[in-house]
């Protein structure tokens, strides 16, 4: 039992391993000072992450691994953990020591993984988390006694407060190889393990029996990969299993039972027991996990969240819009007329501005979600959804990927790696983009704000909730269809989800989460949206229309005004000529021609060609739709919104322009029915190139992303067609 030696010339490599939601990432952040995403539910880390920290005994490279209940990998993220711990990953050095992060409030289950880590024969330290929670439950853990029982250092830590972190850093250099306990296995199993060990030649003598026992228990891959492929081992393993089968012994079951008997012995010696009443978590869960009341509370929470977005953040949005408008006016005055000024004012400021005006609402949404997540509520929502998801053929574990998809489908699709069965994973990946991601949010806010502005906040919130519900219904329908199409019926896998303890959201963590997500949104607005705005402006600006065509359009507009002159005829003529010039220019541009080219396809959905240009732009990123409309209405109608009296209170300039826009026959381009159809399009259509690229990566080919692209867009077209055609017959468009 020698303490771990710092290798010459490189830092000590330490891996953090533990059950999901044991607090590994919180500890990782405390050790390294990094800011990896932490959440109060399992399955957040699906890839390994690494960082360096300075310990008293020298630098340490810390690897944060995905949570695992066992080293017998069930899911891809567990396989990552097993591969790294056993030194099977070419891109990651085998760890010099392992820090087992053990949740003291779930000690027995956490020690199961520890029992497997001990067998790896690497120096080990136990970081004991949630000690306070265990004590509150009347089950305090005696850390020194646990250290004596396991034969390795045990350090109680509270990652987010950094309690115990310094002691852990010291302990890293004192990590020792734990003595392997003698598991109380059936005698016949030990005999077979010894028999099988005689066929194993590749391993050193002391490790052969343990390897044989693990093979009998069903372990494979990792450090056993080379051994299990040897023909002699394959044959001997089959013979041993057959003999055990004849004796009525299930080796895997016997192995698990033996470990738990050992664990019971350890836990009995280190855990105190004093009676406590029902905990607060249990009392709250009686309501929040109720099949009916729980779903009701969930719907109410989401509704309240959306209502807040419309009721209280509106003035902030208007304030930002006013700043954008002021900037346009100032820059426009400062620069001399020409294409550069038009690019800056109508392209960059109008384009990027129409996206960033929604930053307050998006930040607030992130704030709420971070608080719900950190409080432990979101894991309860997953539990509630399990029944619903199972009914449509999705695994309960799909909830976390689907929940992540409400922020962005990309991390959601990556989080599907926690799902063991390939078919369940594929179903989740297929339906994840139906969840309303934050990129859709600016579009929803613009369209709902434009057409329900006169309504109360709760109606706007209901419309918003409707968008989210439509996406969920589409996902449920698709999953159901996928389930019904499956030729092979497979037994449903049990969903094991640890419900974290409720806690007051930690303000610093919630604020950091909100800032990280909002900063990502702003970064995207400043890079991708900026570049796309420049290109879309160029497409809406060039080629320039011949002067005679512009003159003819202006003359026609003037004649129409003079045919039925309003009170202030000169101002009306001036306004109509300006509008006609912009319109003629826009129709002559690349964007105008593309819009007209696709109009036959989108007209049955109620969309005019300018909306079509926006839809094409949205394929790069959904929020570009706002930028495109901002640019089109700025280029096509440069005077719109300049007059103060045009801007009603609480109404932004783009909304004013949308409402004023008319088709050639004089009817409004944007009606409430068009707005509903457009919202349905954005809920259902697959428009995000990045998501398609990630689906390709995660499924290893183009088949799934292309089917997904075709299916979602066909569904969106069909639903919008039905909405507009039926709606226009009932309400007349």
């Amino acid at each position: 039992m020698n303490a771990v030696a710092a290798p010459a010339g490189r830092p000590l490599v330490v891996a953090l391993a533990g059950n999901p939601n044991a607090g590994k990432t919180t500890l990782f952040n405390a050790l390294t000072g990094l800011r990896q995403k932490v959440a109060n539910y399992p399955g957040v880390t699906v890839e390994k992450k690494s960082g360096r920290c300075h310990a008293p005994g020298g630098d340490v490279d810390v690897i944060d691994l995905p949570g695992a209940y066992s080293l017998v990998a069930n899911s891809p993220d567990e396989a990552v953990t097993a591969a790294i711990l056993t030194g099977q990953r070419a891109d990651t050095p085998a760890p010099d020591a392992i820090v087992a992060v053990v949740d003291a409030s779930n000690l027995s289950r956490n020690l199961f993984l520890v029992s497997q880590l001990i067998e790896l024969g690497r120096p080990l330290v136990i970081a004991l988390t949630m000690v306070d929670v265990a004590a509150r439950r009347g089950q305090p853990i005696d850390a020194p006694a646990l250290a004596r029982a396991l034969g390795v250092p045990v350090v109680p830590v509270t990652g987010h407060r950094r309690h115990g972190v310094d002691r852990l850093l010291v302990a890293l250099h004192q990590a020792v190889v734990a003595p392997t306990p003698v598991w109380p296995l059936p005698e016949a199993l030990w005999e077979e393990a010894h028999e099988l060990s005689r066929s194993i030649a590749d391993l050193p003598e002391p490790l052969r029996v343990a390897a044989a026992r693990r093979l009998l228990a069903g372990e494979s891959g990792g450090d056993l990969a080379a051994v299990e492929r040897q023909p002699a081992v394959v044959a001997a393993l089959a013979r041993s299993r057959a003999r055990l089968h004849n004796l009525g012994i299930d080796a895997m079951q016997a192995d698990i039972e033996a470990r738990y008997r050992w664990i019971d012995g350890v836990v009995g010696g280190v855990r105190g027991e004093r009676p406590v009443g029902r905990t607060l978590s249990e009392r709250v869960d009686a309501v929040l996990l109720h099949p009916v009341a729980g779903l009701g509370v969930f719907a109410l929470i989401m509704f309240a969240l959306f209502m807040t977005l419309f009721a209280y953040v509106g003035p902030l949005v208007d304030g930002i819009d006013a700043i954008v408008g002021w900037l346009q006016a100032e820059v426009g005055d400062a620069m001399s007329a020409g294409p550069l000024r038009d690019l800056v004012v109508d392209g960059v400021i109008a384009g990027v501005g129409s996206v960033i005006v929604f930053v307050p609402q998006i930040a607030l949404l992130y704030l709420f979600l971070a608080a719900l997540e950190d409080s432990g509520y979101l894991a309860r929502a997953a539990f509630l959804m399990d029944r619903v998801l199972a009914g449509v053929g999705l695994h309960g574990k799909s909830f976390i990927p689907l929940l992540s998809s409400f922020a962005c489908a990309i991390p959601g699709i990556m989080a599907a790696r926690t799902i063991e069965r390939a078919r369940d994973r594929l179903a989740t990946i297929l339906v994840a983009p139906f969840m309303s991601c934050s990129a859709r949010l600016p579009v929803y806010l613009l369209v709902i704000g434009a057409f329900l502005a006169g309504q109360s906040a709760w109606i706007q919130a209901l419309a918003m909730l409707g968008c989210y519900v439509l996406g969920i219904l589409a996902a449920v329908g698709t999953a159901l269809a996928f389930k019904l199409m499956g030729a092979k019926r497979e037994r449903a896998q049990a969903f094991v989800l640890e419900l974290p303890t409720y806690k007051a959201p930690q303000p610093s963590l919630v604020a950091r989460q909100m800032w990280t997500n909002t900063a990502q949104f702003l970064t995207k607005a400043g890079t991708t949206i900026f570049c796309l705005s420049v290109l879309l402006w160029a497409m809406a600006y060039y080629p320039r229309a011949p002067q005679e065509r512009v003159d003819a359009a202006m003359a026609r507009a003037e004649a129409e005004v003079r045919a039925s002159p309003p009170a202030d005829v000169d101002a009306a003529v001036e306004r109509a000529r300006e509008h006609a010039a912009g319109h003629a220019q826009l129709e002559h541009s690349v964007a105008g021609r593309i819009g007209h080219a696709i109009e036959p396809v989108i007209a049955p959905l109620g969309f005019e060609w300018k909306i079509g240009v926006g839809l094409i732009g949205a394929f790069a990123a959904r929020e570009v739709f706002n930028a495109t409309l901002g640019i089109i209405y700025a280029v096509g109608d440069p005077g719109a919104g300049d007059d103060d009296d045009e801007i009603a209170a609480n109404e932004d300039r783009l909304v004013t322009a949308l409402r004023a826009d008319r088709r050639d026959d004089g009817s409004p381009v944007w009606t409430p029915l068009v707005a509903v159809s457009l919202l349905a399009w954005f809920v259902l259509a697959m428009q995000c190139i990045s998501t398609t690229a990630v689906v390709r990566r995660e499924t290893g080919g183009w088949t799934v992303p292309l089917i997904q692209l075709a299916y979602m867009n066909a569904l969106a077209w069909a639903v919008c067609f039905a909405i507009y055609q039926v709606g226009s017959r009932i309400w007349g468009g």
């Binding site: 990998a73 294409p339 290893g700």
Partner: protein, 45 residues
């Protein structure tokens, strides 16, 4: 600033934006080392 100079600057900005976007898009589609594992489909990268 003359109209011609403005047009040249605009052309440069538009070309820059197009180049940056192409780089981002092709960067996204380019094969990259996946962090997959034995059973992870991402390993096919």
């Amino acid at each position: 600033m003359s109209h011609a100079v403005q047009t040249v600057i605009v052309a440069l900005i538009v070309a820059g934006a197009a180049a940056l976007l192409s780089w981002r898009v092709f960067g996204l589609f380019a094969p990259r080392r996946a962090s997959g594992c034995g059973s992870c489909p991402a390993k096919k990268d």
